[in-house]
């Protein structure tokens, strides 16, 4: 028996050695331009997200290659966190792909700030991007006055409510902030969790906090805060923290919401235990994927009582490598424009998300998307976790949690936030 085992083990070892020496059968090491010798192909590496909602890219890339036989696209896709991790490693080791997906704001600005992304301003002018893409999406892909990304999606956020809770309590979507607060109390007394927020990760509750800042401070101050040109130790920020604490104490949030996963907060909406949540243009498809009916939910603008009533928005884009050869850059731009073209979006409109491209069809599978996108047409502000530098947004998340847990008073939280902002500004102005 032992002899047989030894023999087996030895055979496997020998086979392993041979296999390892032989290399991978899927090796990418052979460049496309050496493939056939007939036609010189440009090979470009594309990185996008993966998973549900991104399957269409594979088909679109295949179509693109058929239409452009001189371009080979090596497509790699990653889930959200691996994508961020891979981009970080690639940026640090100067091995960026030729074209990659990224988010706007401080996540996307990292690459132009470090000279890794190509300035597309001239291309934008030549190809008339102003008439192709939504202005807000172009603005959010612009850093220091230069365009560094081909806008892909523009997501807007809104308040979503369960029709069952509103019908059971005879309520209509609120028109004023006072009415909104009255409704929270009514919903609570009727046995619903008024606000389905999960603070694990910080960003979900942040969506409510930024609306409160907009309400208390107004658009001008809000924009100044996000651009770090106003003090964060001000009345609007203190009132925001105070309101979060008040809602926590009144149990408007789910029990233990500080450590609750946002997806669990969504489940409370599906279970009809909660009444209101803040989600975006993508929530229709989340509801459908989870096996529920989108018609059981409605949306309303958060009554900030400001003019205009601005929702939070954020952009997603495709950036091109500044280090790639001019041929690869041209091919990557062609691919980026193809993936954001009206034809491709109309073909995949039900799964594309909310496109940044103008004049595209609307999806019947996402009945609330148009209403939410329209709510941003008068103006919008960039979502806080993309507008603020990453270390400052982490400070904000910490402040939110500490206020909720009673570790910091609202005044202390505003002071701590301001201190962090000042430190950041002085460090980066040196």
């Amino acid at each position: 028996m032992k002899r047989m085992l030894m023999l087996g083990l030895t055979l496997v070892m020998v086979a392993s050695l041979l296999a390892a020496c032989g290399g991978g059968n899927n090796s990418q090491s052979s460049p496309a331009n050496q493939a056939d010798g007939k036609q010189k192909k440009v090979s470009i590496a594309l990185w996008t997200l993966s998973g549900s909602g991104w399957e269409w890219v594979v088909e679109a890339v295949e179509q693109f290659q058929n239409e452009n036989p001189d371009i080979e696209v090596v497509h790699s896709s990653y889930a959200v966190d691996p994508m961020k991790e891979n981009l970080k490693v690639a940026a640090s080791s100067k091995t960026m792909p030729d074209i990659w997906f990224t988010w706007g704001g401080s996540l996307g600005s990292f690459y132009p700030e470090n000279g890794l992304a190509l300035d597309l301003s001239e291309i934008a002018e030549e190809h008339n991007y102003a008439e192709v893409y939504n202005k807000a999406a172009l603005d959010m892909s612009t850093f220091n006055g230069k365009l560094y990304g081909i806008p892909m999606r523009l997501n807007a956020l809104s308040m979503w409510y369960t029709k069952e809770a509103y019908e059971a309590t005879n309520l209509q979507p609120p028109a004023t902030f006072a009415e909104f607060e009255e409704q929270l109390e009514i919903l609570k007394n009727a046995g619903y969790i008024p606000l389905a927020f999960g603070s694990k990760g910080g960003w979900h509750t942040m969506r409510l906090a930024e609306l409160l800042i907009e309400h208390y401070g107004g658009p001008e101050l809000h924009d100044q805060l996000l651009s770090l040109s106003a003090s964060w130790d001000n009345e609007a920020v203190i009132q925001t923290f105070a309101k979060l604490k008040e809602y926590t104490d009144k149990e408007y949030f789910p029990k233990g919401y500080v450590s609750l996963d946002p997806e669990e907060a969504q489940n409370l909406m599906y279970q009809k235990k909660a009444a209101i949540i803040n989600e975006g243009t993508w929530f229709d498809s989340s509801i459908i994927t989870s096996g529920f009916d989108v018609n059981d939910f409605g949306v309303f603008k958060f009554p900030t009582e400001q003019s205009p009533v601005r929702p939070s928005v954020f952009a997603e884009m495709l950036q091109i490598s500044a280090d790639a050869s001019p041929e690869k850059q041209a091919a990557a731009i062609k691919l980026g424009e193809y993936l954001t073209s009206v034809e491709v979006i109309n073909q995949f409109v039900d799964v594309y998300g909310s496109p940044a491209t103008l004049n595209v069809n609307t999806s019947e599978a996402n009945p609330h998307m148009k209403e939410i996108l329209d709510s941003a047409s008068d103006g919008a502000f960039q979502i806080m976790d993309q507008a603020l530098p990453q270390q400052l947004i982490q400070k904000w998340f910490e402040a939110q949690d500490r206020v909720a847990l009673g570790d910091w008073t609202p005044q202390q939280a505003a002071q701590e936030m301001d201190k962090a902002v000042q430190e950041y500004v002085s460090k980066n102005s040196q």
Binding site: S16, N26, S27, Q28, P82, K94, T95, G291
Partner: protein
Amino acid sequence: MELRISSTRKVVHYAVLIILAILFLLPLVFIFFTAVKSNADLASKPIYAFPAKIHWENFVKAWDQGKMSMYMKNTLFICLVKVPLGILIEALAAFALTRLKFRWSIPMFSFFLIGMMIPMQATLVPLNMLLNAIHLKGTYPGIFLIYLGFGIPFGIMILRGFFRTIPKELDEAALIDGCSDMGKFLRIILPLSMPAIATLIIFDFMATWNEFLLAQIFISDQSMRTITLGLLAFRGDWSTDYTLMSAAVLISVLPVMIVYLLFQKYFVNGLAGSVKG
């Protein structure tokens, strides 16, 4: 009286073991419940609730939609190459460290151990640059090199410990019979070290099968992706298909369980031997 103490002790002993077993099995039960629920059932009821209807088809969907066969094939290929190759290298190194008398054996052993102290995360950037420079990024040889490098220190530590428990007299007898060093290694040390090797096979197979961090950085080609990366396909930007993901998780643990069951009878002996002396 003594009998009563002994049976009371036994009862307590078993009670503790049963409680521990339940604690360990509970997450698996919840994963199973999640795997056989519909998405609506999962979202509308607590995680510990029994499924309203058993959806066995989730396993088929997970297998097809999640391309599980491709991911399992890729992972199995990596494991079947990396694990035996790694153990061969580790055994040769451990043999040299314990049986071939040379001056720097202790410092060299310490050098190998340093490999265990370097966090993987700290090596991602330099390894990425290195593999890119030698055109091995995204290739199987590149993956094998990295996996072997990270696995070797632990394997050497286990095998060196075990080899030291094998009496030197056996070496002397082999020498008298005219056995070479390689003969000693193949005919005496390796056969006697089966418990330690079986232990390593289990550990190494599990570690390679479950490896995520290195795979997510160094395997960019979709068709080469491993099972841990494949499981993430059920996660989109805004939502996660937990039912199919749980079904896929249950499918993905089967090979590890099979390997464990095959080699588990050697497992305890191997570990005990490796820490002696």
